[in-house]
């Protein structure tokens, strides 16, 4: 009998990953000096249990088969890698390819992660799910998966964010979730995370906490990265398929950094691929009104991990500023902090103004309304493309769609809708 050559499915996992500097984190969840577990004693046992369960599940092909099945049939993956021809012409230089995470069910990359974590919650027999959310995309993705699995869902959201993302708040409520307004601190994403941690400590026996980004105590940074890596695996295969080669550069926005690590991770060993993580420059880094810890912060400890943070000289966490609620966070995933220090990824920023221009350009030239978060990536990719030649390729992670942001943009335009 002849042996058929086995062709990997689009974006399938490689059986063996080499054991090298990119195989992190270590057993205690460290990426270099970053990461780890820094939570109150009550939560340590829960975090350790999750680590054990995930480690076991991640070694089980049946778990990934179920995950892949859901991504295909429920989320609608693979998402296209789309040539943005008019944007390319407009920026004048390298080809702009958009990885269309905006086309996922619920409209952003966040669902990739909630699918994976909900499978764990189900396996662990936890009937109650909690989540934090900034822009509301992760809250919607969590409420969605909770509805599908029949789980109770509570979403913590800063009172400020509830005001600027009212459509997503209503979506969560329609999906059956209880949205809890967080009035403490700066009343944004960081405070929602604090409140979710408090809830978890109180209800640790029956509750699964779905963290929405690659931050938090270990194993979250590793686990969320693994779930989001489907973005990069697909993009890598699609680039090989469409161009016969890898792209020259990857560009993604970075708040906590889950869409960025998802795109970057499967390319880390491809030394010829340059990577750019774009933080929220807000009013401009020099004004101090921004959300760019990697560009202008310092290492510290918050929300369970050691990472770059925006904090003052006394170590108190600073309030952040960005037009995009999803990037308005003073920390960042620990793996990004490490990738910055070793120089593998370049971290840059785009201001509110630059992001808004990119938002309009993409909408008018491609007929795609991008999320304000993703607009930061498009803005930087435009500048980068102009310095490159037309035979070069940039993959931009279009991490979410911008329907949720039309009220914000209309308000900036002075229009009431």
């Amino acid at each position: 009998m002849s042996e058929y050559k086995r062709v990997n499915e689009l974006g399938s996992r490689e059986a063996e990953q080499p054991n090298d500097e990119f195989s992190g984190p270590d057993v205690h969840g460290h990426f270099g000096r970053y990461g780890g577990v820094f939570v109150g004693e009550t939560l340590i046992a829960a975090v350790e249990e999750l680590d054990q369960v995930y480690t076991r599940m991640a070694a089980d092909p049946a778990f990934w088969a179920e995950f892949d099945h859901d991504l295909k049939h429920y989320v609608g993956r693979p998402s296209p890698l789309y040539f943005a021809e008019r944007l390319t012409k407009h920026y004048g230089g390298a080809k702009i390819m958009l990885k269309r995470e905006d086309l996922n069910h619920t409209g952003a990359h966040k669902i990739n992660n909630t699918i994976g974590q909900a499978l764990l919650a189900k396996f662990m027999g936890k009937p109650r799910i909690i989540a934090e959310t900034g822009a509301g995309q992760h809250g919607v993705a969590s409420a969605t998966i909770a509805a599908r699995l029949g789980l109770e869902c509570h979403v913590y959201m800063g009172a400020e964010d509830i005001k600027r993302q009212s459509a997503n708040v209503y979506r969560m409520k329609l999906l059956g979730a209880n949205v809890i307004s967080v009035e403490s601190g700066s009343r944004t994403l960081k405070d929602a995370l604090n409140e979710a941690l408090r809830d978890w400590a109180t209800n640790v026996d029956n509750t699964y906490y779905i963290i929405g980004t690659v931050a938090g105590p270990s194993p979250y940074p590793r686990m969320v990265r693994d779930f989001q890596s489907v973005i990069g695996r697909e993009a890598r295969a699609q680039s090989l398929e469409q161009f016969g080669r890898l792209p020259d550069a990857l560009v993604a926005c970075v708040g906590g950094g889950s869409n960025a690590i998802g795109l970057f991770y499967p390319f880390l060993r491809d030394t010829e691929v340059a990577m750019y993580g774009v933080e929220a420059g807000g009013d401009g880094i020099e004004t101090g009104r921004h959300a760019a810890p990697l560009s202008a912060g310092r290492p510290g400890v918050l929300h369970g991990n050691r990472t770059y943070l925006m904090s003052d000289e006394a170590g108190q966490i600073l309030e952040t500023h960005s037009v995009s609620a999803g990037l308005d966070y003073p920390g960042v995933g620990p793996e990004h902090s490490w990738l910055k220090d070793i120089g593998r990824v370049h971290y840059v920023d785009a201001t509110d103004t630059e992001a808004l221009t990119a938002f309009r350009d993409c909408t008018r030239m491609e007929g795609i309304i991008p999320a304000l978060e993703s607009s930061h990536a498009i803005a930087y990719a435009g500048k980068l493309a102009a310095t490159m030649s037309p035979d070069q390729i940039i993959i931009v992670n279009l991490s979410g769609r911008g329907d949720k942001d039309i009220h914000t943009v209309a308000e900036i335009d002075g229009i009431k809708i």
Partner: protein, 271 residues
């Protein structure tokens, strides 16, 4: 023997329970903390836990969060806290002080510089809420290099492996968290706590002090009866929150503000 261990040993020798109030340094104004500390001692405090305020106190309930916010609004920094401890020590050489807080302000200052300042100011020990023993070696070395006690929390969820590591790293006392939750919640299950403490006694000789959820004489009595003493935080911080920064208060007024400590002292001394 450290000032903390001596104090606890002397209470135990008298057959008495240890009473430890927690307040947030700088809450609601920088000038009120030292007078409040003296009022606490006058009301029967054996040891004082002085909270170092942090912007994101994710293990604390709403009352202590508000206390931290008031203290930060008043401009409290670690430097101010060292000055408060120095000032307190001018009048009180005996009452041990444990500084309690979150890691980021300490990392920002640097472990060695921090431990050195804590020790020089006259404080006795440290409890860092979000620093588990697996991450604590560098901090532990700095603290013990300056003869500071290191207190760690034990929770109802703490398993045997972790308990061993916590006991190995703890000096002074073990802080037993009475409930699953954050500071200021309500204790529900005395029987479970009794069983846990009985188990702790089999693995450590450290004194066991119970905190979280002790808000009045009745709840203190219940916990003191099954442990070496109690920690009172939220109930006290709530009262202190009614003071106004910048206003002057007599000693009698401050003793009245911390009245819950006097009530608990009388109650547990009757045990």
């Amino acid at each position: 023997m450290s000032r903390i261990s001596e104090t606890i040993a002397s209470k135990q020798a008298q057959g008495k329970k240890v009473l430890i109030p927690y307040i947030v340094a700088g809450d609601p104004g920088l000038e009120l903390t030292v007078p409040l500390m003296h009022a606490l001692v006058a009301s029967g405090a054996d040891i004082i836990e002085l909270g170092m305020p942090f912007s994101d106190p994710s293990s604390d309930g709403p009352v202590i969060q508000l206390g931290a916010e008031r203290a930060l609004r008043a401009g409290t920094t670690l430097k101010h806290i060292f000055a408060m401890v120095r000032e307190f020590r001018q009048q009180d050489k005996d009452t041990p002080i444990l500084l309690m807080g979150y890691l980021n302000p300490i990392e920002t200052m640097g472990y060695e510089a921090f431990a050195s300042e804590v020790s020089a100011s006259g404080a006795d020990g440290l409890l860092i809420v979000d620093l588990p023993t697996v991450e604590c070696e560098e901090f532990f070395a700095a603290a013990h290099g300056h003869d500071l006690d290191t207190v760690f929390l034990v929770a109802p969820t703490t398993n045997e492996n972790r308990l061993e590591s916590i006991c190995k790293h703890s000096t002074g006392y073990l802080y037993y968290v009475s409930l699953k939750g954050v500071t200021g919640a309500a204790i529900s299950d005395h029987g479970e706590i009794r069983a846990k403490i009985a188990h702790l006694r089999t693995v450590t000789e450290l004194p066991i002090i119970v905190g979280f959820g002790i808000k009045d004489a009745a709840s203190a009595l219940g916990m003191a009866a099954i442990s070496d003493g109690v920690i009172v935080g939220s109930a006290l911080v709530d009262k202190i929150g009614h003071l106004q920064a910048g206003k002057s208060y007599s000693n009698a007024q401050l003793v009245a503000t911390v009245g819950v400590i006097g009530e608990i002292r009388s109650a547990i001394d009757a045990l």
